[in-house]
Symmetry: C2
Subunit: 148 residues, 2 copies
């Protein structure tokens, strides 16, 4: 039981790391959250599928350049952990300022998939890295009654 709880917490931490990287608009931090391989995939709301870390990194650079500030409040999180991979489904409650526009609030549902990395078979070095992100905007979004 405890071990199971430990795995879920580690996966939640990897999910949090991804959103913290997004909030800081730092490509270095985003690099730490993702697996750098050719078969990873990313779907930003309304966009096409990006495949490979090279293409995905480029997409984050473009997003960061056009974002002044962004804050996430994550709710409705569901974690499904398997042996070497995990799925996190969550609602991103977003407060953002894009370019010179006013602050907007939006809701995005995300399917995030993480893969366990077995580095040197050393337990402390096992890391869950993002291999897939799928975000899509909710049409009739009602923001929660919290300040982000």
């Amino acid at each position: 039981m405890d071990e199971e709880k430990g795995v879920e917490q580690t996966i939640e931490d990897s999910n949090t790391r991804f959103y913290k990287a997004f909030e800081t608009l730092s490509i270095e931090k985003m690099e730490e959250a993702w697996k750098h391989s050719d078969d990873i995939t990313c779907i930003h709301p309304g966009w096409e599928i990006f495949t490979s870390w090279t293409a995905i990194r480029e997409s984050w650079l473009r997003i960061f350049e056009n974002t002044k500030t962004i804050k996430f409040f994550i709710t409705n999180m569901k974690i499904k952990a398997f042996e070497n991979m995990a799925i996190v489904i969550c609602l991103e409650n977003i407060d953002t300022v894009i370019a010179d526009k006013n602050s907007i609030r939006m809701g995005v549902i995300a399917t995030n998939i993480f893969e366990k990395q077995n580095i040197n078979n050393n337990k402390n070095n096992n890391e869950w890295l993002m291999v897939h992100h799928h975000g899509s905007t909710i049409a009739n979004y009602m923001p929660p009654n919290v300040s982000l």
Copy 2:
């Protein structure tokens, strides 16, 4: 190698079964494609997260009631197979008639997740059932030059 190919084909078949069920607008066929449990999830384009088969079944009934015809042409498919679960990412090229409106073409990117069911440990009874579907519309979609 052959066994790996076999698994991927079985997963692709499960993915096809889902889209065939959607095309026939048959709730019975859709029931066959999904796992019927409380922790499965479904995100239709622009909608909130539906959790549990009861809620997801209801959402399909609503969609089927409002759809006159729908045809899928699946492209850009990527399959990742793990021991007991598999991820299919694909582009749904859709030609649909909703209610009394004209035919529209749209592009939806899907993340589909399937879970292997071990029924009686009988190889022939192993089935990959859908446990998660996430669809999101592409904003600047260019339909392929094919008739659906």
